[in-house]
């Protein structure tokens, strides 16, 4: 009973705050919940860069807060509730594992807006957003197919989840289009962030003959190893040029800033509504670092053209004919993958070696 009372009072207070907002007298309060430390130089770091961009954009008219390294589950729900209780107008929950916690808290605070990254559950006050990183992977796959001499591309993967599998498929598909002999060696490290293990994985792949390294883990360790070994690699999450001045061909950069600024503005204008955003290269959510001069001019031009075509909507990285790994048909000639299948992708496409764990 008591909880209910306090929640009602709080929601009423928040209602007042929102009303005050419309006059432009009050600051908009925006909260961020991160799954890792902001110092991980990867996933959480990039979300925090987005938060800093929001602060820069709106100056004194917004107040941002964050809580880092919040475990998924009970802790997330508590942090979210406390954010809602302390008068936040908009809360970004930046990890898939916060999905149920976000939904639970959102149901209790109908006047607070929530934005959940990479999830699929929505409500009137819960939006979801994610990035089509596979668009970037298509471009780097193309470059990798052209650049490899041993025809072996080493791929350091985190966990066998749709996001990661989609990336492997997209990269492989486009590498194999320009180089039918290309082979992907995938190593699963079962961690998003374990610099030492990622370094070992990169070494193992190089020892097995890989001369191009791709990673779907957060640390810069594989890039550094590639630099030492004198081979090439692609950065992940951030521009890793610093760590592989010769090795980095380009990097897929998570750039949340434009989206965060948009959504904060929508709350300030009172135009925010629940929606599902899955943006790619076009609005700049997925960004490619400048392509290195090591890449021959024609390949560079092809890669840039592909990125432009994807951005313009003229080309979808998953355009048929594509078969599944077992040879069964997935997409017919000219058919384009639907978002639902992509979101839950749990199969390899034809030609990828090995099996998805489990």
């Amino acid at each position: 009973m008591q909880l209910k009372t306090i929640l009602t009072t709080a929601t009423m207070a928040l209602g007042l705050a929102t009303a005050a907002l419309a006059d432009g007298h009050e600051k908009t309060k925006v909260g961020f919940v991160y799954v890792g430390p902001v110092g991980d130089f990867g996933w959480s770091y990039e979300h925090n860069e987005g938060r800093l961009a929001v602060m820069e954009e709106f100056g004194d008219s917004v107040e941002t807060t964050f809580v880092e390294s919040v475990p998924e589950g009970a802790d997330a729900e508590r942090v979210l509730t406390q954010m809602a209780l302390s008068g936040h107008d908009l809360i970004f929950t930046t990890s898939f594992g916060y999905m149920d916690a976000t939904m639970n808290v959102a149901a209790k605070f109908p006047d607070v807006k929530f934005e959940h990254a990479t999830g699929y559950k929505r409500a009137d006050n819960v939006s979801t957003y994610g990035a089509r990183f596979y668009e970037g992977r298509a471009v780097i796959g193309h470059i990798a197919g052209k650049m490899t001499e041993t025809n072996k591309v080493g791929y350091i993967a985190s966990y066998p989840i749709p996001e990661v599998i989609r990336g492997i498929n997209s990269a492989y598909l486009h590498a194999q289009k320009v180089n039918p002999d290309v082979e992907f060696n995938v190593v699963w490290v079962y961690s998003w962030f374990d610099p030492a293990k990622e370094a070992d994985a990169a070494k193992a792949l190089i020892e097995q003959g890989a001369d191009v390294i791709m990673q779907h883990t957060d640390s810069t360790a594989p890039m550094t190893i590639a630099e030492e070994a004198g081979i090439v690699a692609f950065g992940q999450a951030s521009d890793m040029k610093n760590f592989g001045p010769n090795a980095q061909l380009t990097a897929i950069i998570d750039n949340w800033a434009p989206y965060y600024i948009d959504r904060v503005r929508a709350v300030k204008d009172g135009t925010w509504s629940s929606m599902d955003t899955w943006d790619g290269i076009a609005p700049g959510m997925v960004e490619l670092a400048p392509i290195s001069d090591k890449v021959p001019a024609d390949v560079k031009a092809e890669a840039e053209a592909m990125a432009a075509a994807i951005a313009a909507g003229d080309y979808h990285p998953f355009t048929g004919p594509i078969n599944k790994q077992d040879g069964s048909a997935w997409l017919a000639e000219g058919e384009v993958a639907d978002d639902g299948t992509l979101a839950g992708m749990n199969f390899y496409i034809e030609g990828v070696q090995g099996e998805i764990p489990n």
Partner: protein
Amino acid sequence: MDLSAINPIVLIASLMVASTPILLAAIGELVVEKSGVLNLGVEGMMITGAICGFAMAVETGSPALGFIGAALGGAALSLIFAFLTQVLLSNQVATGLALTLFGLGFSALIGQSYIGVKPPTSATLILGLDAMVFVGIGIIAVTWWVLKYTRVGLILRAVGENHDAAHALGYKVVLIRTAAIAFGGACAGLGGAYLSLIRVPQWTEGMTSGAGWIALAIVVFASWKPWRVLLGAYLFGGITVLQLNLQAAGVKIPVEYLSMSPYLITIIVLVIMSADRTRTALNAPAMLGRSFHASN
């Protein structure tokens, strides 16, 4: 599947690199435990060493100075533990865990301005191996020699086996243990810096990701014998590297089992070793974890 692609010499070289951080931390902890002290704060000292070494190397441009800074940083942190457990007689298990918590936070605080910075590169000697790999082996050799053949080693062991008797003989138990703890902290610091300066190299919060705990396990695995620390660290590092190589070679063993293998095999090897009853494997220093007070 192409097992022939796994080159044994390259594999050995990379397992030596992979094992060095835990090897360094473990040999330090071995000396601490030989003196009768159980310091569970290895992880905290490692990560403190990782950032101290990183900061020092970046500021001075010298990896060597970085390692010295790491040793000093690890030792300085361990002195908090020494003061609490030796002077104020606090519980060693709890204090060690608190040290880990504090070290993780403290290192992240110092490290805030070093995120995304590249450290100066260190030279490699042969087969891509750097000097620290051999320094690590050297520390093991020296530790073995000191413990076995010197008076200092004898005193250290005496303190660890029976501090009251050692005290009665006039040895300064608290001082000796403090020195051992500082040595352990310095070694853990070196191990941490090896991660941040050579093996990764980069600074990120929580980058030791459990290496300190593995180092603790290796000391027990080694039944407090220096050369067995080398064996244990190489075994553990070797399986870690090998499982990644097997994956890269496309061996059809489920990845989950491969990922568990370093831990499971370490347990199995220890069981086999401890099952040999003739060797009375219980080498643990008798006073391990017990506080010493002169009036006892």
